[in-house]
Assembly symmetry: D2
Homo-oligomer: 342 residues x 4
Amino acid sequence: MISIGIVGATGYTGGELLRLLLRHPRVEIATVTSRGHAGAALTDWFPNLRGETDLCFSEPELEDLVKCDLVFFATPNGTAMHMVPQLLDAGTRVIDLGADFRLKDVHLWSQWYGLEHTCPELVEEAVYGLPEVNRQVIRAARLVANPGCYPTAVQLGFLPLVELGLVDLDHLVADAKSGVSGAGRQPKQNTMLTEVAESFRAYGASGHRHLPEIQQGLARAAGRPVELMFVPHLVPIIRGIHATLYARLLDSEVDVQALYEQRFRNEAFVDVMPPGSHPETRTVRGINVCRIAVHRPDSGRVVVLVVEDNLVKGAAGQAVQNMNLMFGLNERVGLTDIAVIP
Amino acid sequence: MISIGIVGATGYTGGELLRLLLRHPRVEIATVTSRGHAGAALTDWFPNLRGETDLCFSEPELEDLVKCDLVFFATPNGTAMHMVPQLLDAGTRVIDLGADFRLKDVHLWSQWYGLEHTCPELVEEAVYGLPEVNRQVIRAARLVANPGCYPTAVQLGFLPLVELGLVDLDHLVADAKSGVSGAGRQPKQNTMLTEVAESFRAYGASGHRHLPEIQQGLARAAGRPVELMFVPHLVPIIRGIHATLYARLLDSEVDVQALYEQRFRNEAFVDVMPPGSHPETRTVRGINVCRIAVHRPDSGRVVVLVVEDNLVKGAAGQAVQNMNLMFGLNERVGLTDIAVIP
Amino acid sequence: MISIGIVGATGYTGGELLRLLLRHPRVEIATVTSRGHAGAALTDWFPNLRGETDLCFSEPELEDLVKCDLVFFATPNGTAMHMVPQLLDAGTRVIDLGADFRLKDVHLWSQWYGLEHTCPELVEEAVYGLPEVNRQVIRAARLVANPGCYPTAVQLGFLPLVELGLVDLDHLVADAKSGVSGAGRQPKQNTMLTEVAESFRAYGASGHRHLPEIQQGLARAAGRPVELMFVPHLVPIIRGIHATLYARLLDSEVDVQALYEQRFRNEAFVDVMPPGSHPETRTVRGINVCRIAVHRPDSGRVVVLVVEDNLVKGAAGQAVQNMNLMFGLNERVGLTDIAVIP
Amino acid sequence: MISIGIVGATGYTGGELLRLLLRHPRVEIATVTSRGHAGAALTDWFPNLRGETDLCFSEPELEDLVKCDLVFFATPNGTAMHMVPQLLDAGTRVIDLGADFRLKDVHLWSQWYGLEHTCPELVEEAVYGLPEVNRQVIRAARLVANPGCYPTAVQLGFLPLVELGLVDLDHLVADAKSGVSGAGRQPKQNTMLTEVAESFRAYGASGHRHLPEIQQGLARAAGRPVELMFVPHLVPIIRGIHATLYARLLDSEVDVQALYEQRFRNEAFVDVMPPGSHPETRTVRGINVCRIAVHRPDSGRVVVLVVEDNLVKGAAGQAVQNMNLMFGLNERVGLTDIAVIP
């Protein structure tokens, strides 16, 4: 059994890790920490876990965490970087669900996150945990930077086109929509049901932290910088991300449908839908699947529709997928639920 | 008092016309028709009207309708064109909330709507009822084609840029989101709460009827054809449209905020919000206002956010605004409600 | 014009007062206070008021408030009692939307609200502002205790039966459901969309502050104490209260439908629906109406269904209704909106 | 492997059976029928099953169904009774998720369901499939009448009190609330998102088909008839039932909490929560658990709060639980999911 620690587990990604790992046949949850709520039962925070676990949150003590084979950080940005070096030194592997190790350009990271990085040397080593791109290096990684929710959807949706240079890389548009759980579990006025239900709005239209992460990934795939307009929106639902991607095709002859099917043929968690499809976020609620449909409104343009569960393929599920890779397990272990519809 | 007929009033736009006109100080509702539900009380279909009216639906008889000064058609596409000629001949003016008279190219109309047009000669005469563009001709019109919901939002959002040729007209993107009432009141599986709540999806990504209407309006404003990618989405809310518009600026020096404020300075129903704003659909729920915010994610690009109530500024409210113009009233009469928040 | 002050207007009842009073033809809003947000524009807190007002919040200064003819308190419980004595002394009348003056038994009040009352002598004078019961005394009142949201619905629903002693007063049941706005505008985990959407639950099943208020009103109507089981529930909607009332009829011959129609015949804001009806909360959203339907599942039992908007007839709308009475206006002035459906 | 047939699987309970049985380790789905949609892929109706099955719907042919060990009927009321006799004769066991075999009084059944029963002799034999009451007889049953959704919640909530005669059986009240999926998958105006979202209402307040079923079960437990007021309500959520039960205690000394814990100690799917709890429907979404909390607002009264997923413990999950019993499997097999929160 793989011994697991989860740091900062009172939030939504922490809760999803717990839900998934409590049913994972090859792991044992050793330590679940919360600086603010040590002593509380997990079930106080996650009533769906009643009857599933007797664990309580503990203080995040290094001496407990280094006993684990793997520690997940489900903490606010800027937290993991303070503990990761000691964990790696002790031989404990780490998956950070936050943003501390996602951007290779530490200066750029500081600009967007407003913090000084405390272990820039590890940023270089960290592996960006998008299995559909980095599967081999994830297997051997000590430290995995789990991708952001929007970046997972937008990159998976653009990758087949960008990798082969089939679209105009200077004029990409990603219009993204997320359920409210993407804003975390800290009560704020703008996540109250009374303020966001029966309404729809954009946010961060002048700039969002996930933009440089997406650009980094697409640039790496393209072998050159890309220009992207990215606007996120808040949908009054609990979970789900929908990304609508727009690009100009450089070659109007390309069979985009076949391209996508080919690119993701062997991917367990990417479902390329039949032509004409419009994926619904509900079909991936609670599961680690990303569904993609491609449309050709006219010969020179392509529209890609991508859905994922922001807390699963966009966070905790992808983290478990990375864990499976890191520990030599079948990538699908523990990730075989069927979405609950309706 | 202006004597009013409403044809096909059991749907959502019909209901909104009733709600607005019952409080309008200068009109009298003479005839409200429904082919399928003649004899039923209006309050059977619109429980919010209890205590406000004793009217019942009647059969749509020409002899009743020609007695009206103005007839609104809130009917499925392809219905109004069968009655409009006789009404105009009798001196009754018409506002069609459907699509029968929106597209000047009758051939294009037939392609998208799958019908032969029965009075193409009136298509030429019909005035496209977007007051912010056609105010003067609306005043004198016998027949007004009330714009579609998406076209209202997308055109108002792009107009200031397109009229002055400030953006690359070959690469416009309009990502639009609508509440479920946009799909009408006929029960269908894809409008059941169980099928669309807690989910989000696109539809018509390969082509939607509102695309040619938008292109016609923008081309007219630009003085040349425009190329537009347009994808509508279904938001699990009752009302509201949010359009997110993307364009490349040809001149990065232009003060876009000032441009919009200037363009809509005298418009009673267009609210240009302060820089950095993200308009929420809830702020226009039930009212005839369109709110717009402009963003400049970088020097060469502009993002425009537009919200409206699809049933009000996107349908019945705009129809009343057109009626006010046609009958020499102040444009705001009967359209001064404040949105209910939260 | 009646000069108005509103204390504590950043919450939802304050916002509703503003929405209603800005369109009220006989009032002038002189002062709108917020201890925490003085200086902020009202539109920062209520985006629906954009274009309607330039007012800003000010500090709640007595010298400003005493210049008003009427001050509304839309403050947390225990706030109004500290300012009301001075206001009344200065000749300013007061409507308290909080609970400070609702319970005549000051000791009981202290038990439920956990505070010592600072002006118990005014509790006696305060008039309970349920116009359907106290219309005459409200007209002359200096101080009106505006009823709670649940108490308004439950009392109106039970009154016709209780006043005439037609039901077993020892076994009343009121099962009540409220939208989330009833919990106020302070962000808390249990009002986040992510925590309450797509779910339903009871709260306060072992006791709720509105129970003694309801019992006081019903006892007064009955001329003897009543026994009531009352459980409130949280519905994942923004607005609306639905109360389902159960009682045993002492006389199975009574025509309950006729009784209700008779009792509320002259009430502008109580709509007794036809037999067999099931009122929907959406039909009263944003308006000051309470709709009631009565059912007789068998000869010995009666079920009463009551809906209201918790923020309007259950709070701000009823306060305006009381104001109209206090200042000799027609009770309906400023309260004639039609609910927006769908 | 148990060979399974599902008749009428295009609805919501059919879809849930498929979701659960596709992951059940001991069954094989042999035949899935739909009279109206034979030939269609299951994934056309249940997009969550993409990648999980290649099955198509077939016509409901007796020759196919008799090859199954067990046939589930997920059909409209009045359908199963036409096929069940032949299936039983052929040695195929049956679980009917409809109401055809729930009421022992065939005359009463005809009154409520408006049909003549075609095999009254089997009504006698049929076992009411509430395992917490009938576990032993279910094991041996040929024909199981799977309980209704409301009856499951209300009976489980009242049973401990009623079985021991601890409450006044003449004055029980069950106020029940259900998500919209309880109304089925046939599109109707009153299940459109636009008609039911952001609203709340009762239905069937003068009488509902589940009332006689509940009364039958409680009477059997009490050994005498019971009098119950039952009003169902529609909550604008997809799934979930919440029943709020009110009763007068005959003995105020009884420890109700201990009673419930004792009664359900060995029940895998009934969770008696700690004192003071308010169960949320979201905690049972998609899973076969019923959570119960008991409250004592005063010494003489008890309030019981019950939640279940109407499509799982209230339908398909309970059917699988019954199947496990009928085929000698551990009752929990295939029913161990954790609810997805948030």
